[in-house]
């Protein structure tokens, strides 16, 4: 009897213990409070390590030969940014004047086995295969601005936002006119060469204006050169005897657009530029022309591409981000430069 009762008591103890254990487990599961130690955050001040020298890396660079100011700035920025790091060796190959030339020089660059390659292709589709080949050989590719169609062809895409550029310009113009209380504004647009990026810019512009109930009254396309800008602007001004606002896609052709406006003696409207050239930023700051703002598509992305390439090659993450590796895609925001913030953008002007 006593034997039996002892057995029972031991069994009770075991069951009881198991029950209590299960209960604790269960209650633990219902709780949503996460212990501080396991959250995916990063302590403030923990990201200071990005500038600290890491292991030595060789960064290859290939971009089309500079045919205008923007591309010239891309080359200059990449080179200067690489020179700023003591742990980076910069190896630029001539990107040539077409995809064919770029493919062949990229081939020789891959053979030299750099740690990582930054590529701005003539045409993403045509250079895709070579980039894929590099990735398969274990050399990561940082794709600058013009995207490769194949996601496997790059480790990181960093690019500007053409649609966003139009959106920024549209919002600036829309807001200004709304604030002035203009109900049915006359808005002119001087676009660039009719290539896909220009079409994207115009689509963004129209979409942003539509949110204010506005639309473009007349649109002329120039060729990204100042003389074509002058020609098309002169005709646009003739077509619209009274204008409230103009968006000109490109600051280089904007030199000609401003000349045409000056030659016609018109000043009843304000103008927004595009790209963020130094001449435009200076004019906005001086505030003595109709040019009141410009929306950026900044070649500073080349500098950022070099910085990110360095981190990828060293296997480091991005300072302020929690991830241990650099993200896969970076799209720059198109910023609006006005008189108020012009001085802070001066160093980015090209």
């Amino acid at each position: 009897m006593t034997q039996h009762s002892r057995d029972v008591s031991r069994r009770r103890l075991l069951f009881g213990g198991a029950a209590v254990g299960a209960a604790t487990l269960l209650t633990a599961c219902t709780s949503n409070e996460t212990p501080a130690a396991s959250t995916q955050t990063k302590a403030a001040g923990d990201g200071a390590g990005n500038n600290a020298p890491g292991k030595k890396v060789v960064i290859g660079f290939s971009a089309p030969a500079a045919d205008h100011g923007w591309m010239g700035a891309i080359h200059a920025n990449a080179k200067a940014q690489a020179a700023a790091y003591s742990d980076v060796e910069f190896k630029e190959v001539d990107g040539g004047s077409n995809s064919e030339a770029q493919r062949s020089t990229l081939g020789t660059l891959i053979a030299q086995k750099p740690d990582i390659i930054v590529v701005l292709p003539h045409d993403g589709k045509e250079v895709n295969a070579v980039a894929l080949q590099a990735m398969q050989a274990g050399i990561p590719i940082v794709n600058l601005d013009r995207a490769f169609p194949d996601a496997l062809a790059s480790r990181l895409v960093i690019k500007g936002d053409n649609y966003g550029m139009g959106v920024s310009a549209g919002h600036f113009i829309g807001k200004q006119l709304k604030d002035k209380g203009v109900s049915n504004p006359v808005i002119g647009e001087i676009a660039g060469l009719e290539i896909p990026l220009t079409v994207e810019r115009s689509a963004g512009f129209a979409a942003a204006l539509a949110t204010y109930g506005f639309k473009v009254s007349n649109r002329r396309s120039a060729e990204f050169t100042s003389d074509s800008g002058q020609r098309e602007a002169a005709q646009l001004l003739q077509a619209l005897p009274k204008i409230d606002a103009i968006w000109n896609h490109d600051d280089d052709q904007g030199i000609g657009v401003l000349a045409a406006i000056n030659q016609a003696g018109r000043k009843e409207f304000f103008m927004v530029g595009g790209a963020g050239a130094k001449v435009a930023i200076d004019a906005i700051k001086a505030d003595n022309t109709v040019l009141k703002a410009t929306v950026t598509y900044n070649p500073s992305m080349a500098s950022s591409a070099i910085s990110l390439a360095r981190l990828i090659a060293q296997g480091r993450g991005l300072g302020d981000l929690t991830e241990l590796q650099v993200p896969k895609e970076v799209t720059l925001a198109s910023e609006t430069i006005t008189k108020e913030n012009a001085s802070s953008y001066e160093k980015l002007g090209f």
Partner: protein, 375 residues
Amino acid sequence: MSDATPTPTATPERPQLPAQSPPVDPAETAVAGDKAASTGKLSWWRGDGGEGAKRNLGLIGVLAALIAVGAITKPDLYGDPTWVWNNVLAILQLASVVGVVTVGMTFVIIGGGIDLSVGAIVALAGVWCTTVATQSYGAGGMIFAAIAVGICVGLVNGVLISYGRLVPFIATLAMLVAARGLAAQISNKQTQVSTSTVINDIAARKVLGIPILVYILGAVVLAGWVLLNRTTFGRRTIAVGGNPEAARLAGINVRRHTMLLYALSGLCCGIAAIMLTSQATSAQAAMANLYELDAIAAAIIGGTLLSGGRGTIVGSLLGVIIFATITNLFAINGLSIEAQNMVKGGIIVAAVLVQQFQFKSFTRLLARNRLTTTP
């Protein structure tokens, strides 16, 4: 526009040149001769000499039709006389640079050649005259640089073609590529801003209500007209283009003359470069894009024969103005550049079709009919 049609005194002189008149059958000459005897002063109109004038009248008709289309589609704008006057000036300013280039091109084509390098020469001269070094010499230095570069490049073309015996198409195509390359090299592919107020004022200023650019166009067209119609140089140009062998046998130094024609085209490009730099207040290697095609197209619809030997300065001017009017018409109607280019293409084809149409046989037909119907 009244001085646009050549005066009757100018045209009758041309048939006197044996080299430039196309082969005519004796019967027709007899008819023309009879007519000349019977109608006196009006004979130039019925004969071969009036052909250029008739073509130009046709072009003025096209121009009037374009303006009428503009007036119908945009009555609100065309109802304002101030706007209409400003629009005429805007069209003339748009035509001014290409117009100056086309005058040079017309000479080259009449002389039996072609100059594909005009746009590239304008760009090279524009870039050369806006470098920091050139701008430091002031407006005079810039104008000298542009004109000197234009003439020099034109001379190189001329020497290659007349003494190097290169086909004009190939020689000037090579120059097109090379001159743009050199321009890109000099400018380092950047847009060079002109800081000279004198240069920039050429496009910005008006004298007696008319922009200076329009005066320059007028002066170049007048000089070109006088040179073609009133000097031995002009007669020789027509002779060389019409039949080089006959011109050589007549004692004309065909090679030297051909060389000078390309230098003349280069000179026009130099002047155009200053005008375009002034308009855009800047210059770059990519400027004056495809001006060669604009100039050739304008010369052709103006009645200049692509094979040489025939053409008028006034016709070319009208051609340029028609193209400028089309651009203006599409702009004020807010239509796309694509549609505009298609219409331009159509007009070039139509002009060449009209060119093939034999006015002579048409008038002869009329004359025969009249002979048979009137006793």
